[in-house]
Every structure is written in structure tokens, then in C-alpha cells.
């Protein structure tokens, strides 16, 4: 049905056309092969995601294994670290150089040869105990200074006034005796005449 050019448009016709247009717009069918393309793309995305997930899984597993190995190895080394005795007169090539235990035991002095190696631990508790032992040992070797009254030091006696030193030989005893006699004898000084020229008699 058509309207003349000068006739007003019928609202119902436009509404009907709009309904048909919207219905047609909402009922468009996909092109052939849409479902297979969709399935393929989803399958490919799934595979990509799976490979990516597995790659990340392997990466995280490797990282966890490395961390575990580091922790276990560090704990083991800290627990079994042995102090190597110093070689007498030997200069290590490097600061952290350690001589194998067998060689060190062979070259060590006799008392140290069969000594049990000391265990060293890095734990704070062990370090604190070690520090307290060192302080106690150092305090025991020093003289006790807190005694009151302080012991007097015999510094007023002159050298030699105490017990005489025993002569080691007869000649030495005679020499010491003569020296004591010379020291006991008075010293006499001759008067000096200053008026007489000192060098006239020689001329």
C-alpha cells in the first residue's frame, strides 16, 4: 500500500516498519561455519592457556626447588661447618682459604693433632654463650683489683739492701768485698794553691 506524496505519514506504518526492522536486526543468522570457527578459536585459546599455565607451573616449581635446596644446604652447612686449625708458620694464600682436614691434622703440632674439631654455629644463642665464656676466662686471668686494702708494693727498699746476691765465684766475692771497703774509706782532697802558676814549673 502506497501513500500519495502529499499525504501525511501514517504513524502505525512507521511503527510496523520499525518493529520489522528491529526484529530482522535481532534475528540475523551467523555465516556458515561460525560454530566451527568459534570452537577452533576456543580450543586454540585453551591450548595456549594450558601451555602457558604449564610453563608457569614448571617455572614456579623450579623456583620452589631452588629455594628449598638453598635453605636445606645453608642449614646443613651451618650445622656442620668445622674450624680448620691454623698451620704453624704457614701463611694462607687467601683469607678464606681452608686446608683440608687431613692435611691440617697431619701438619698440626702434636697436641693439636688429635684434638676434636670445634663446632661452630652461627646461632645467636651459641654466640652469646661463647662470648660469656670468653669474658669469664679473661676476668680470671687478670689480678683481682677489687681487694681492699690494696696490697702494698715494696718499692721503698733500695736495690741491693735486701738479700745479697750470692757470689758466683771466689774472685767475684773478693771484688765485691774490696769495693765495699773502698766505699767505706773517707775521701781526702789536696788543697789547691791558685797563686802558683800551673804551667811555670814545666818551663
Amino acid at each position: 500500500m502506497k501513500y500519495p506524496a502529499n499525504e501525511p505519514q501514517q504513524p502505525d506504518d512507521l511503527e510496523a516498519l520499525l518493529d520489522r526492522t528491529l526484529r530482522a536486526r535481532s534475528q540475523a543468522g551467523p555465516r556458515a561455519g561460525f560454530h566451527s570457527r568459534l570452537a577452533e578459536s576456543l580450543r586454540q585459546a585453551r591450548d595456549d592457556e594450558g601451555s602457558r599455565r604449564s610453563w608457569w607451573g614448571w617455572l614456579s616449581a623450579g623456583r620452589s626447588a631452588a629455594t628449598l635446596a638453598t635453605v636445606v644446604g645453608g642449614t646443613f652447612l651451618a650445622a656442620h661447618h668445622r674450624t680448620v686449625p691454623k698451620l704453624p708458620g704457614a701463611t694462607p694464600l687467601a683469607k678464606n682459604m681452608q686446608v683440608p682436614r687431613e692435611i691440617a691434622n697431619f701438619l698440626a703440632p702434636e697436641p693439636e693433632r688429635n684434638a676434636q674439631p670445634q663446632l661452630r654455629s652461627n646461632s645467636p644463642a651459641v654466640a652469646r654463650v661463647r662470648t660469656e665464656k670468653a669474658v669469664t676466662a679473661a676476668a680470671e686471668t687478670l689480678p683481682k683489683l677489687d681487694t681492699f686494702p690494696s696490697p702494698a708494693v715494696e718499692a721503698s727498699k733500695p736495690f741491693g739492701s735486701g738479700d745479697p746476691v750470692a757470689p758466683v765465684s771466689l774472685e767475684a766475692a773478693e771484688a765485691m768485698l774490696s769495693l765495699q771497703q773502698q766505699q767505706a774509706r773517707p775521701i781526702t782532697l789536696t788543697a789547691v794553691n791558685l797563686n802558683r802558676p800551673l804551667f811555670g814549673e814545666r818551663q
Binding site: M1, K2, Y3, P4, A5, Q9, Q10, P11, D13, L14, E15, L17, L18, D19, R20, T21, L22, R23, A24, R25, S26, Q27, A28, G29, P30, R31, F34, H35, S36, R37, L38, A39, S41, L42, R43, A45, R46, E49
Partner: protein, 198 residues
Amino acid sequence: MEHLVLFGARQQAGASGVAVAHAAEDAGFADIVERNAGFLYRVAYSLLRNAHDAEDAVQECLLKLHRTGGWRGMNDEKAFLARACWRAALDRLPRKGVDFTDAAAAQDLADVGLSPEASAVERSQAAHLHRLIDRLPLELREPLLLSGFEEFNSREVGEMLGIPEGTVRTRLKRAREELRRQWQLSQRGNPGQKAEIR
């Protein structure tokens, strides 16, 4: 309709518990895709008016749902999927508008028993109406296009768009009035086409 065989590789006998769970999950998603792929295409196509873009929007939507696992918690399957696909289509909507042709209108309109001449007139009018629809503001275009789906009522359209049902009806009324006004303006500028209006 083709049967979707998705994720068939995981459905193997003797697989581990995790693999079986994955396979069951994938099978569930495959069922959802199989049930709604055509519907989602129609949702995307109603907005984009382009077959390639509509397919891409559907694929993108489904991939995103599968990747994020958002499809597991949906209550209303069709509304949820339509909302997701609608948003994916909105992201693909060209800013300058949809380039709609008479050929596309001819593809859309079904043969309703008109003569060849009347069919040509119908296609021309439909193409013009499509252009007017595509020029509507998005807030009016969305409820208008979604109201063309038999699957949705005003409440479901409102849930999809995140607006109240009353607002949907108001916008629908405004959209139709705006289309009528634009139609009349275009007919005044082109009297020859106005004569073709049935």
C-alpha cells in the same frame, strides 16, 4: 546446527582427578557455548551490523569468560551472557557509526511475500531506518535494540543495562519518538522517498 566439540582432548579414559574435573568443567562451558553461540551472535550483530565484528565480539566474550571463569557463577544464563557479549560489542563499536548498506538490509529482511518492487522499497526504507537507529544516542539505542529480542522483557533489558525497568520504558518511548521525528525530517528533505512510505 553444528555440534561443538570443544576440549575433547581432555576427556580421556584413565585421566587423573584434576584432569577429569577440568574436562567436566570444559564440557560444561562447551554446552553453554553450544546453546548460546547463535544468540550471542545476534546480540552482537544487532549493535555492530557487521558479521565479522559480531563473530569477533562473540569469540572475545567467550574467551574472556572461559579465561576468567566468570561463567561459573551466573544465575540467569542468557541475561548474563547477553550482557557480557553486549559489552564486548560496545568495545568494538566504531566511533563514526555503523556503515549500513542496502545489501545488508536485504540480507536481514525476510521475504514477507512482497512483490519485487515492494521488496526493493521495503529494503530502501529499512536501510534508511537502520541509519536513523544507528544515529540515536547510545542511551536510547541500547534499549531500543534489545527490545527487538523476543528473549528479553523490559526488566531483563534493565538488568542488562544496569538501569531500572521504568527507565527502560521511558527510553524506549523517547527512542521511538526521536526516530519518528528524524524520519519525518528526512522525508521533508526528500519528498520522493516519502512517497514510497506505505
